[in-house]
Symmetry: C2
Subunit: 370 residues, 2 copies
């Protein structure tokens, strides 16, 4: 009896410690693809929602019920994976009821996953799944504590095979986690592999922010330092740790936005190292003249590289603010005789496009040029 009482007291103490109002359900995806968002915020005077499915810089207000629970129902929304956040009296906050998070380099966002046929290619299926490995390493090249995510395909652990490797770089708003969380690289690869459309490969997702803080001048050295880390530490770590096919023909590099510019500039400086290049919505912030000057040696040899480069894939949305800059970059490569595959898609500078680009790029890797 003493035991029972103490156990009850403990339970009561627990309840007292954490007085819990009924749990908030948010987001709630309704049968017709409308979505209800909810936030408990009794003291707030204004709560609104912004989401990737809405026009940029627009928000919708939430209404407050008597119990301090704010809510709004929006949509129906097109099937897609979207980020969103609440603005509580003007300050951005994630949805505390939703475990789906994009980590982000400038603070986290919540994510809502509206399922449907157009996005089945990255949806969970009951198929064998690859593994994502997180390594912490001390970069000897740039003297920093660093992190890298590595995806291995289904069956890697039980196989003795060696695999080719794609180095896949993120954008300026992301960390090395984002190709897995919001980019769904693993799920896209698992699904393509099950459909027989993919040479199984290892996908290495480094941290593209080699410079974490500091003034403009320090940050301007980011690509240079990232390149030193990639060539001096990351590739050796991967080739030591995993069963990897060595050599140029078994190595690809691709990236989005900031990572697109990195994959472009690094691959042009190391065409002996990467046979497959993917440039997604590249951030090109220098001038075309600077680009031409920087890569003068490669551009001068031009068409000679076409045997070496198995695929030079460039994709960008029609509404992307970087469209013209990317077309100029393509013109420069074309004038030099370098063969590229250019894909102009609907949409803008969004993860929606980058997931599609990855889906279309992966099946073309580690095959001969037709």
């Amino acid at each position: 009896m003493r035991f029972l009482m103490l156990a009850l007291l403990a339970a009561a103490a627990f309840a007292q410690r954490a007085p819990q109002p009924p749990p908030v359900v948010s987001p709630e995806i309704l049968a017709d693809a409308r979505v209800t968002f909810r936030l408990r915020a009794p003291k707030a005077t204004e709560v609104s929602l912004r989401g990737e499915w809405m026009a940029p810089n627009t928000t919708v207000p939430l209404s407050k019920a008597t119990d301090g629970l704010w809510s709004v129902t929006v949509g129906p929304i097109e099937p897609e994976l979207y980020t969103y956040s609440f603005l509580v009296d003007g300050t951005s906050t994630v949805d505390p009821a939703n475990p789906l998070l994009k980590e982000g380099n400038r603070g986290p966002s919540s994510m809502v996953d509206i399922l449907g046929p157009p996005v089945n290619y990255f949806a969970w299926r009951d198929v064998p799944h690859g593994t994502v490995h997180v390594h912490h390493y001390n970069s000897q090249s740039i003297h920093a504590n660093r992190r890298v995510h590595v995806y291995t395909p289904p069956g890697y652990e039980s196989s003795k095979d060696a695999y080719p490797v794609l180095y896949l770089l993120h954008g300026s708003g992301d960390t090395d986690a984002e190709w897995s969380t919001v980019g769904r690289a693993g799920m896209i690869s698992d699904n393509l592999f099950m459909d027989g459309r993919l040479r199984p490969m290892i996908i290495v997702m480094p941290d593209g922010h080699a410079v974490k803080s500091g003034d403009r001048e320090a940050r301007a050295r980011n690509t240079e330092l990232f390149e030193a880390d990639l060539m001096g530490d990351i590739i050796p770590l991967v080739e030591k740790t995993y069963r990897v096919n060595p050599g140029h023909d078994s190595r690809a590099i691709a990236g989005l936005s900031m990572g697109g510019a990195q994959s472009l500039n690094i691959s042009l400086r190391h065409l002996d190292k990467f046979a497959y290049i993917g440039v997604f919505s590249s951030g090109i912030f220098g001038s075309t003249e600077a680009f031409q000057k920087e890569h003068a040696a490669v551009l001068a040899k031009g068409a000679e590289w076409n045997k070496q480069i198995r695929l030079f894939w460039v994709g960008i949305g029609k509404d992307d603010f970087l469209l013209e800059a990317n077309k100029n970059m393509l013109d420069t490569l074309k004038q030099a005789g370098i063969q590229t595959d250019f894909r102009e898609t609907p949409g803008g500078h969004t993860w929606k496009n980058w997931r599609v680009y990855l889906r279309d790029f992966l099946p073309r890797l580690f095959r001969e040029r037709p």
Copy 2:
């Protein structure tokens, strides 16, 4: 020239898209271990800070400068890893300037890492680091899409050895990510290993929330379903995927709070499977009578189990609201003749204690009883 202009236009468009005020630095750890926290929230009327170093349910207000930047300097704070969050007009939000996040099962928190000798045991050191692997799997036992984190020790990938395995369970406020992010299991293990204090081992960190939602009755089945998943899917997945020493002598189970109760109840039902048991600040929400009834068969055989159980380690803080319930559980085991190692420490129901318990528990695993 046309190229240059378009590149500049693109850069201008980028700047226009994202008008950036100077980046906020938060938290800023000062030389004397005081810490400045900052949040940009021009429209908020009240911003406060709550942090794990403060008394429960207390907050400190931030002050607003003319530019909408709120700040407060607190401390000095004892070296430790702490979670914290801002309250913006009463609503909890993470620090958007800080990439250190605890994912959490009830919304994320930010973390601040105050370095110093007392916490060197989990701090980054320039030593070889293990790898954390994230698996998505479809549980056949409970018909759910599930995730599990697995740590392998430094040198695993280049070795041919088989390793013993610790199954390490989290608390009710956590996900399977938390033993890595806030629990620092990998760093603790790396450091102990480098100091020659550890048998290298694989640490498996499953998702203890087998029931994600539903009413009280559905949630009451959580341990039962988690146990089915652990025995039917997780252990087989681990033993198929990794080089694992099979058998009872090479398998340990431990957990904190909810996970402490899970490791206690599951190990007592499977003493043929786990030789090492760790119960950290166990959440014991049933009565002692119920506990005695549930494990009557084991308790009846009592001392006979002592050869089988290599270590039965129980730790809890003097200020933990579950102290008495844990002592009653220990009494029950003692009366049955089951040998336990009990450690009562300062402090309460906190990650500060669970990191210390892990540090002290790990070196005792996979060795003979003295």
